[in-house]
């Protein structure tokens, strides 16, 4: 049953990137939850827009996203649901919104079931019957799963994998239960070793899913993009242009940037950490040398590298060096200063990249897979299975802004095609699935420990049931009758 007395949270605005997005919190603890989000002690003034900066939660990489938001508090009964409601308006990036969501959950809210706000509004007399038709649909959905069909289509593979895990877990449970309920059958339904092995494999499968969802989150929310190149090619200028802010110092002097400069950027709906670096060159200046070493550190952690070349210059040794150094990394090559007269470096860069299409086109031709060719294995581990390969070469002007939109799209594409597809509203299911998976994993670990301790089946079963319930919250409920049915279908039981 849905509880109707706790506090729920969800992204209230339609899926989409850009613009404004709203996270809605409803229930008795709505204001305290929002207070915790904003790090604010004093109560919100009803129906007034309050500006706040959401501070990143400590230690949570996924929440390492601070944001400017507007918080509005609607006390009961004059709110959408009739309960205390807080609406948090933020940048519409799904990444920002899901990060807010996660923090609200950390602060004690529960992720709403689809339609649950409407349900509450309806229960509190805020919607009339005709509007409540949607609620009726919700009521007819047999399981929470069915109510989430739309979400599940987005998350199809993940749910499929969870369903399979749940099914296999159910099978282990059935065998252990059968051992308890039919002790005089004269044969064992499952030995503790077999059960242990089955649980170990289930644990691995859940770990893999959890790992995958962590990786998906990294790509969507925490991707690190390093801008590298020879001195003076315009890295800092590009950095500022992409941020749309004068964050890094720009001068005509080569070797201006001496340290890593990191800034959160929102590119094409993707939240990422953009890193400006010191230009790579041999130098005797100890400060600059340290800066170059840090550039190399950045290369190691970066999920994507933007290699900047100066399009108005001849290709130098430093350019070649950095191209070679990044050849095995996921990268995008940027030819800067396209407002200046070209030097021919463009075709040279093409040559370096192994591209053989015309100099006038900045589009990658079909069948060109420079990254996969260069370092397929690394890409595989870094960004997962590759789909379409991103465009490798962009011509821009950091000064005039020409070509920047293209580059931004290219960066987003490079990050998403390499990893888990970035979709419009997967975060909702993801937070939920991840939390439930983690709970199941914990219970599974306890059950395994109990089994290893040679205790009787009913004790590990307590944990296994807990694991099963967590998974079934994603895949739909099962009852003890289903369990018995499963047993009787598989085993001939009864004297």
């Amino acid at each position: 049953m849905f509880s109707t007395s706790d506090t729920i949270v969800a992204i209230a605005t339609p899926a989409g990137r850009g613009g404004l997005g709203v996270v809605r919190i409803s229930g008795p603890a709505a204001a305290p939850v929002a207070g915790e989000l904003a790090g604010r002690e004093e109560p919100f003034r009803p129906r007034y827009a309050t500006f706040a900066t959401i501070t990143p939660a400590a230690g949570d990489a996924a929440s390492a996203v601070g944001d400017q938001v507007v918080i509005t508090f609607f006390p009961t009964p004059h709110s959408y649901t009739g309960e205390d409601v807080v609406e948090v308006s933020a940048h519409g990036s799904p990444v920002v919104l899901s990060s807010l969501l996660r923090r609200a959950i950390d602060a004690g809210a529960r992720l709403a079931e689809p339609g649950e706000f409407t349900l509450r509004a309806f229960l509190n007399g805020k919607l009339d019957l005709i509007q409540a038709e949607a609620v009726a649909d919700l009521i007819d959905a047999v399981t929470p799963l069915q109510a989430r069909v739309a979400f599940d289509q987005l998350e199809g593979t993940l749910t499929g994998a969870i369903t399979a895990i749940e099914g296999d877990l159910f099978d282990v449970i059935a065998k252990l239960e059968a051992s308890l309920d039919f002790p005089d059958e004269g044969y064992h339904f499952v030995g503790s070793e077999e059960a242990g092995a089955a649980l170990a494999s289930l644990g691995d499968r859940i770990d893999r899913l959890l790992g995958e969802s962590a990786r998906g989150r990294l790509i969507r929310e925490g991707a690190q993009v390093a801008i590298v190149g020879a001195p003076n090619v315009g890295k800092s200028s590009l950095f500022n242009a992409l941020l749309n802010a004068n964050r890094a110092i720009v001068t005509a002097v080569a070797g201006t940037t001496r340290d890593l400069v990191t800034e959160r950027a929102d590119l094409g709906g993707l939240s990422l950490a953009l890193i400006d670096t010191a230009g790579v060159r041999e130098t005797s200046d100890p400060v600059e040398r340290e800066g170059v070493a840090r550039t190399r550190d950045a290369l190691r952690v970066a999920d994507l590298v933007l290699v900047v070349l100066d399009g108005s210059r001849e290709m130098g040794d430093e350019d070649r060096g950095i191209l070679a150094e990044t050849a095995h990394l996921p990268r995008v090559v940027v030819l800067n200063k396209s407002d200046l007269k070209g030097s021919g470096i463009f075709s040279i860069a093409q040559g370096v990249l192994g591209l053989n299409w015309s100099a006038t086109s900045t589009q990658a031709g079909p069948g060109v897979e420079p990254f996969a060719e260069n370092a397929p294995q690394h890409r595989e581990s870094r960004l997962g299975r590759s789909g379409k390969d991103p465009r490798p070469l962009f011509s821009v002007s950091a000064q005039t802004g020409a070509g920047l939109d293209d580059l931004i799209a290219g960066v987003a594409e490079a990050l998403s095609t390499g990893g888990i597809e970035f979709r419009d509203q997967p975060a909702v299911s993801n937070v939920r699935h991840t939390a439930l998976l983690a709970r199941a994993r914990g219970a599974l670990a306890r059950a395994t420990e109990a089994l290893e301790g040679q205790v009787s089946e009913e004790f590990p079963l307590l944990d296994l049931q807990e694991a099963a319930h967590a998974l079934q919250e994603i895949t739909g409920r099962r009852t003890s009758d289903d369990l018995l049915r499963h047993i009787f279908e598989r085993f001939c039981i009864g004297k």
Binding site: L180, F488, G494
Partner: protein
């Protein structure tokens, strides 16, 4: 006892203990007339230890009959019930088939397999409640006239053999029979038992053979189960021989038990060999079993089909929703098994009396008793097949043990007027010992391996430490008597040893209580709840859940629908 004369077994043994804790007869009856006692699941944890015993069929029935006849307040009318009489929405009396009328304030119907019963043996079928007894047709009509929803189920029983015709010694010597004894220290069922029960009977284990399976297969067309003659649904946990062979072709053999129906009776019950094949085929099958080549078949096995009332017609008191004062109990409600029937009989009887006295019914929770689970499952889910109790039906299994059935239920039984003074005083002493011993164990310090001194309760959490060992080492002195020692140590030890798990279960109970405590009035107008679809209204109205907890358990009902009902509870 139309079938296997055995009482108890997994989860069923729990039911028997609970019936006893509430003042019922079953445990005392089997303790007095049992001939072989075993504790099932002894190698596992205390929550699933289940006593089982074989009864001397004749003595068991005679014991129960005598016990009932000794009750001064029972007035006997022996006849065939025909019609339920109503006055408005309330039961007003019962008419026998011969027309005699008996007015009453409450009525409990417990007709077992008799409603429109039909017995099948091969092609032969005859109306019958069970072997040798006519079915109840008038009463079936009368119940259907009330508009009750009903269905059809089937069950079966194996052939009986003549003891004198079986050479057990030879069978054992040649290795085809395996002797099964009772436990060396038989544990009685009843909390009031003061002596060790009789435990002398032996059973013999044997196995079916390929030849038996072939015979079944080649005669399957003559089985009413497989030729369409029977439409009722049978229990899957007690499959007929036909089902075993046809549905599990991979199994090379199945186990059978030869069980005496009494100490000095001729009938040997062939446990596991229930079937409805023609008599001749049954004889042939028996003679194909190793060691039974010349066994004499006294009575053939048969299948019986019967009507049952969908228990969703009932409230948790086992009173029908439709007719006040009318109660159903036992197999008529779709259950199967003596223990399930006895438990319902006890509750229905108590509640019939309480309804006449104008007192609230005795309803046990799922967290309180297997009996509570039994009733709750029946009234919320109905039956699609014969219902038998299993420990896996209990979500709070670790709390519902045979060792604490009295601690859980005797006070409830006393409140309901079911527990006499003697049992109540005995309970009082037991409870006091339990509390005292628990306290002692927490306060007595003992030395554990490695030399550290810890409270006995903490030492007991180690797998290798038992309360028995602490007591015999003189480290702990318990308040107990030799008679009570086993029970006293068992419940105290379990409470302490598994504390962590028990606490988790108690927390789960507490979480669920929110929904269990929210009552839905009997006349709640589900159809007036806005937004509920017709399907949901139908499911709710058919089952008439009494609490939000029950509403959640109705099959096919969605969480959102329950939430909507919950929100409207305070408005109508």
């Amino acid at each position: 006892m139309p079938c296997n004369p055995a009482i108890g077994g997994t989860a069923k043994g729990h039911l028997v203990r609970e019936i006893d804790a509430l003042g019922g007869l079953m445990a005392r009856a089997i303790d007095a007339t049992g001939i072989q006692f075993k504790l099932l699941n002894r190698s596992r944890g205390p929550a699933v230890w289940s006593p089982r015993a074989q009864a001397d069929k004749g003595r068991y029935s005679a014991w129960v009959k005598a016990a009932l006849e000794a009750e001064p307040n029972i007035h006997w009318i022996i006849g065939r019930a025909g019609r339920i009489l109503l006055d408005g929405g309330r039961v007003s009396g019962l008419a026998l088939e011969d027309g005699a009328v008996f007015p009453c304030g409450a009525l409990v119907i417990t007709t077992g397999t008799f409603l429109n019963g039909v017995i099948h043996v091969g092609q032969e079928q005859r109306p019958s409640g069970r072997a040798g007894e006519p079915p109840s047709r008038d009463l079936a009509e009368s119940i259907k006239d009330l508009g009750m929803k009903w269905g059809r189920l089937k069950t079966g029983t194996p052939p009986r053999l003549a003891r004198r015709s079986i050479d057990f010694e030879q069978g054992v010597k040649s290795g085809v029979f395996h002797v099964e004894h009772g436990d060396s220290e038989p544990i009685p069922f009843s909390f009031t038992a003061t002596q060790s029960p009789m435990n002398t009977a032996v059973c013999h284990l044997l196995h079916t053979t390929d030849r038996v399976h072939q015979l079944v297969r080649s005669n399957i067309g003559a089985s009413p189960l497989y030729n369409g003659q029977i439409s009722g649904i049978g229990p899957r946990y007690c499959p007929s021989l036909e089902d075993k062979v046809m549905r599990f072709p991979d199994r090379e053999r199945h186990q059978l038990f030869l069980e005496p129906e009494g100490l000095d009776v001729e009938e040997i019950y062939v446990n596991g060999f229930s079937m409805s094949l023609p008599v001749e085929t049954q004889r042939e099958l028996i003679h194909s079993l190793p060691g039974l080549e010349s066994a004499e078949m006294l009575r053939p096995g048969y299948a019986v089909e019967y009507d049952f009332v969908q228990p969703t017609e009932l409230r948790s008191s086992l009173e029908t929703h439709r007719v006040a004062g009318l109660f159903f109990a036992g197999q008529i409600n779709g259950t199967s098994g003596y223990e399930e029937a006895a438990g319902q009989g006890l509750l229905a009887g108590a509640n019939a009396a309480r309804s006449v006295l104008g007192r609230p019914p005795l309803v046990l929770g799922r967290e309180e008793a297997y009996l509570g689970i039994l009733v709750d499952d029946l009234v919320t889910k109905g039956c699609l097949e014969p219902y038998r109790m299993f420990t896996s039906r209990a979500e709070y299994r670790l709390l519902l043990r045979t060792d604490n059935a009295d601690l859980r239920l005797t006070p409830r039984g006393r409140e309901a007027g079911l527990v006499d003074d003697e049992r109540w005083e005995r309970y009082g002493r037991r409870r006091k010992r339990y509390d005292t011993n628990l306290d002692r164990i927490r306060k007595t310090w003992v030395r554990v391996e490695g030399g550290a001194r810890v409270p006995a309760a903490q030492a007991l959490k180690r797998p290798e430490v038992t309360l028995g060992s602490l007591v015999s080492a003189g480290d702990v002195v318990l308040e107990t008597t030799p008679d009570d020692f086993a029970l006293d140590t068992s419940s105290v030890e379990t409470t302490v040893k598994y504390e962590g798990y028990l606490v988790r279960q108690e927390q789960a109970v507490a979480r669920a209580q929110q929904a269990e405590r929210r009552r839905i009035p009997e006349a709640f107008p589900f159809e007036r709840v806005p937004g509920l679809s017709r399907e949901m209204v139908q499911r709710f109205s058919e089952t008439r859940p009494e609490t939000l907890g029950q509403a959640q358990r109705i099959p096919g009902v969605t969480p959102a629908a329950v939430a909507v009902v919950g929100a409207y509870l305070n408005r109508f």
